[in-house]
Symmetry: C2
Subunit: 194 residues, 2 copies
């Protein structure tokens, strides 16, 4: 678990453990909703790659492309792989969620019910879209494997497990948003605007 690798560093190493990629390609993979488990922008990724290189966890070579700008392709080192193996199962404190829509829900007693209802319906819609997207990816994965990927050591197995988290989360979120909107519809109390 080398000196000072950040969680983003491990996210990058995790992708590079599967295939060598440029900073640009890493950025594409860590873009929501595809990299929903750890989104990041290129402005954070490029400096982080520099740090990983300084720690000897990745190396890069410049690949010249005739039609496109040159790129730096990063490859994980044996040290990088060792760091990943040490990190994946190491102790981890319970995460805290910080979700502004939930905060809004907590403050919803101050709101105009009709407006609040619209907000929750809109988010139900947004998350339903994300859910559908994840389900598409899952279907693809299942089709390629004829069911769930069975080999524990294949990245597809891990992707399958991760995707199921995203799907479970989005499904529950959509359900909750919809329920809140409905409940707001049925609620007592007329709104007096301030």
């Amino acid at each position: 678990m080398a000196k000072g690798v950040t969680t983003l560093g491990y996210a990058l190493l995790g992708l590079l453990a599967y295939e060598s990629l440029s900073g640009y390609d890493l950025a594409r993979r860590l873009k929501k909703p595809v990299g929903f488990f750890w989104p990041a922008r290129h402005s954070q990724i490029y400096p982080e790659l520099g740090l990983l290189e300084a720690e000897g966890l990745v190396t890069f070579r410049v690949v010249e492309q005739p039609d496109r700008p040159d790129k730096k392709v990063y490859e994980i080192t044996e040290g990088g792989r060792a760091a990943m193996r040490a990190w994946v199962s190491s102790p981890l404190p319970q995460s805290t969620v910080r979700d502004e829509l939930v905060l809004r829900a907590f403050c919803v007693w101050l709101a105009n019910p009709a407006e609040a209802r619209a907000l929750f319906l809109e988010h139900a819609r947004l998350h339903a879209e994300t859910l559908a997207h994840y389900q598409d990816i899952l279907r693809d994965l299942e089709q390629r494997h004829g069911g769930r990927p069975r080999d524990f050591h294949s990245p597809d197995f891990a992707a399958y497990v991760t995707l199921n988290c995203g799907i479970g989360h989005e499904r529950q979120y959509v359900e909750w948003c919809t329920w809140v909107a409905e409940t707001l519809g049925n609620a007592d109390g007329a709104y007096r605007d301030g």
Copy 2:
């Protein structure tokens, strides 16, 4: 939605809209897992209260206590209430989750299955505890209201809705962690340590 109020600022205003509190009491309420929807430390809260006061959204008075240190009790102003009403239903972009355990899951193909299994079981246990805690609070709330709070304009209604989000989330999280642990138990592939 005054000039530059942060989300934490609204979280504080949301609590103050219900009752006047000191910075210390606000910090207690925004401490996980109770303030699970927006956790914060006192070191962030005290300066934020200063900003809210500068914007005229809260006022405070010093309350002298014979047995304990003096405290500043903050009260929301009419401007603060107006800012809250404007904010609660205003448009909000879809949130992104950043959960390290999900990232670990994505990288689990690099792990020792037995160790990874232990990690996910541990988190299933942690979240089951949180779930039980939320359910206790919900039961209390339901008992006091004889079912779900019906008045839309009561803070208890909002607390009920928020709590249901937390419960849904924790339930799905426990389920997922447990499923991952089980799946790791059944998976093919012996581990060769690096």
